[in-house]
Every structure is written in structure tokens, then in C-alpha cells.
Amino acid sequence: MIYNEDFETLPREVLETLQLKRLQQVAQRVYHTVGFYKKAFDKAGVQPDDIKTLPDIKRLPFTTKQDLRDNYPFGLFAAPMSSVVRLHASSGTTGRAIVVGYTKRDIDTWSELMARCFVAAGLTKNDIIHNAYGYGLFTGGLGAHYGAEKLGASVIPMSGGNTKRQIMILQDFGPTAICCTPSYALNLAERGSAMGVDMRSLKLRVGIFGAEPWSEKMRDEIESKLNLSALDIYGLSEVMGPGVSMECMEGRSGMHVFEDHFIVEVINPETGDALPYGEAGELIFTTITKEAFPLIRYRTRDISRLIAEPCRCGRSHIRMDRVTGRSDDMLIIRGVNVFPSQIETVLIGITGLEPHYQLIVDRVGAMDTLEVQVEVSEKAFANADEVRYLQNLEKGLAKDLKDYVGVTAKIKLVEPKSLQRSEGKASRIIDKRKM
């Protein structure tokens, strides 16, 4: 099924004409309203008027996550605050978070794109959608919520956590669809079974899973444990939130990028050169309709590839494959984006701990676990040789990580010099997860 048949099935040449027109408009607008873009365009020796064809997009400079941080909180907004109706932010220590804004029209666009996702998953206004994405600064919860309401479905604004209650509501309210991270879906299945609930006989028909990388193997597992069709959804706050691309029920192979609102490219992350369709590289997005927070050639650091072959569903929009990794050291733990540098910042703020640490990421059952191994400082140990003192250090760090980075971690104090000294980023992270 297709929500907006006019736009989702536009012939390629018409779609590309529309994209060019919208790209030219957004290039003009950011150049004249956002100081950062004017400087970046000038430095790259390109003017908005130079965009004559769609491939001319390659002349525009990239925008990076660091650029977004440098302009915290509102430096890249292209609309006055009086027309911004919503703010969201990524997790991050103070001053390092990324803040995004939406005008009324941006919210309408986002709602429509999420509605398109639900319809691509075979849902209608007769469905009940259990939305277990987190509500709040994270874009997942509210993004899916508005889309479900736009479609006219009944939405249960469940948010994350409180698993027992979620299982009760899944039984009692009988939702026909669920949105959450794929690992949380498995966790629900496992916890439900342990509570003696037959998780295969719920009314759930479809699951829309995203916000973290997963695999075909996980899809099979979720489908068999929850007896539903599991579909992949993609999005990131910087570009909009969930609903940038979505797998269709008909194809179940790659996610359609809503190209009437976004231009997607794939580049070699080392050289920045464009890669042809089919080759894996870093995804780059340009938003061509957003008002409050337009982005030009944003480097997502997500690794995927584009699929140019037409899809059997009839959508003309190009597909992107599952995200298979990152071109930086970001970790996704239970759907939360975590950079080792954020953990380091928290560690440095705690007296008594050395900034020598190692992160062990694993998956126990369906849940990601993060263990932070950190060395006790000489000073801390000289001041107190008590177990209680060291345990308080552990508790304090766990609390700060939860508060500032948004991730639950187990802290393990280790002997000095037992951790490898920094020889590049990789040695700090041991990821034992098998997707």
C-alpha cells in the first residue's frame, strides 16, 4: 500500500526535476540565512546559482556532526525561533549535544513521512500501534506518534522501559503493530515468555524496528518469537528523525528513501568521492524541504549502499540497504548513540578515576550490555582504602553516565596499567555483539 501515491511513485525524471528545484531553493535559503553555510560555500568556491543540475550537488561542501556541535544550540537554524514549534536533541554531555528544530510545516512533513512508513508496513487507520520508542528529546517516540495520528491509527504512547507493563498492555489492548528497537522487541519476547505469556498469540501483525543496526538473522528470530512481520526503518535526528527511509511490506529488501524530501548519496568515507549505486560507503543526506533545520550533504557516518533496481511495490524512490556499520567509533547501545569521547568526558570529571578506560559491549539475551572498565587513581586509593569508598566511585560514575550520556553501564574498577594505553580509538572498545 502507498500513502501518497502521487509523490511516492513519481517517474524518476519528474522526481529528479522536483529534487533539483528544491535543492536550488534550499541552497539559496541556507546561503542567505545561515552564516555557517555562507562561509562553507564561499570556502568551497561555490554559489547557490552554480547548482544547475542534480549532479552539481557534489560541488557543495559536506556538513559534519562536529559542525553541528560547534553551532550548538541553535546556530544552524534557518528559521526564526518564533516559527520553530518543536526542539529535539541527541544525547550528549553539555554543549556537545545536537539540537534540531522544526517549524509547523516540518512537523507536518515528518508526520506524513512516518504515515508513509506505516502504510508501507501495511497499516491503516484501523490499526492499533504500540509505540515503544522513547518519548522526549529523542526523536523516535514523538516522530512515530505523530505519524500514527496522521494516518488515523490508534496510538499507544508507551515509550521505553517498564517491560512488565508493556507486556500487560500488549495482551490487554491488543495492538496490531509495534514500534521499538529490534533488540527491545527480542527482550519483550523473552520477558513475556518468562512471565508465561504466549507471545506468538498476541494480535501483533507488524513490527517497525529501527534506531540500531540489526540483521536478517535477528529478523527471523523476532518474527518467529512474536509471530509478526518485522520491517526495518531508518532515520536520524539530524536529518529529521525516524521516517527518512522505510522498508515496504511488498519488497522487504532495502528501505525506500523519501526522495521528494531528501537527496541521498553514498561516498567513500576516506576520500569523500561519490560511489556508484550498489557500492557500500557512507550515507550522505541533504534535506530539500526542511525549514527550521535544513542540512546540506550531511555525513551520517552510517555505512550502507544504494539499490537502484525498481521495487515491486511500485515506489520509484531509491532504496538503501541495511546499515551495516559506522565509519566512526560511535556505538549504539540499546538504541542510544554513545561516543567513547562522551564517556571519557564524564570520567575526567570524576576525581579518583584515571582517564584510562575500556568499553566492553556485549549482548546478553536480547539486551546490549556496556561495561566500563576504569583504573582507580593512586590519589583516590591513597585517601581511602575502603570498599565503600570505591563502590561509591562506581555508583557515581554509573549515575553520571546515565545522566549525561543516557546509557546504563556496569562499572568495573581495574588495576592500574591493566588496560592498554591509547593507541588509536579501536583499542578502547571491545564489541562482542554478534548481530
Partner: protein, 143 residues
Amino acid sequence: MKVEQISIFLENKPGALESVMRLLKDADINIRSLSLADTSDFGILRLIVNDANRALKVLNENGLRVSRTSVVAVEVPDRPGGLHSILATLAQHGINVEYLYAFIEKSGENAVIIFRFDAPDAAVEVLSKNGFTVLPGERLYSF
């Protein structure tokens, strides 16, 4: 009247204790008394040895996290109620014990209780005034 105790941070893993003991053996350091506080992840090994300075140096040089703490050693007759008599006095004076451990003297007549107080000076004063034998460090190191 205080006794030097050394504390060593240990990860809770096979061989952690052994490696410390090997260092002490190779340095010819003798242990008078010890206790091990443990959690699921880590432990703190507390030692009273015949030569605290040399032990600290050896352990430090080998990259262990060590610290020096003052503890108080009290001698009591080795019979029922010995430890209780000390604790009763401490409780009366509102003195808090952080932790303690004990050993029996070679003669077999007395026990020595090692106390860690948050206010060791006040504790020593109270115990001495109430007739308890607070042992100087030298006595312990040379037992």
C-alpha cells in the same frame, strides 16, 4: 601508638593474590596479619608486614595500586568476652569502627585486634584511659 598497614587494590580474578604474594616472597617480606575485603569485582588486601616501607616500594615498583593506612592494634586476653570488652568501651564513647581483623599472639595467651577507626587518635586515647593495651607498631612488626 599506631600501626602501619598497607592496602592493595586487586581485581577479582585468578592469580591476582598470587602475584602479590610472589612479590613479597621474592623481597623476603613476612606477613604478620592480613585481611581481604571483597566485592564481586574487586578486593582490597590489607597487610601488616615486618617492613612496611620496603613492601610499599616493591609493590609500587611493580605497578600495583597501594596505600598506607594507620590502624590501631589492641591486645586482649584470648578468652570469651575479650573483643566484647573493647567494643563496649568504644560504643560507650561513640567511636565508630570502619573494619577490624584479628590474630593470636605466638605465646597463645593474648589476641591482637587490628582496628581501623575514622578518628584513630581519639580511639587510642579512650582505649588507653580505660586500661587496654594498645600495641606500638614496632611490637607487631617484630612479633
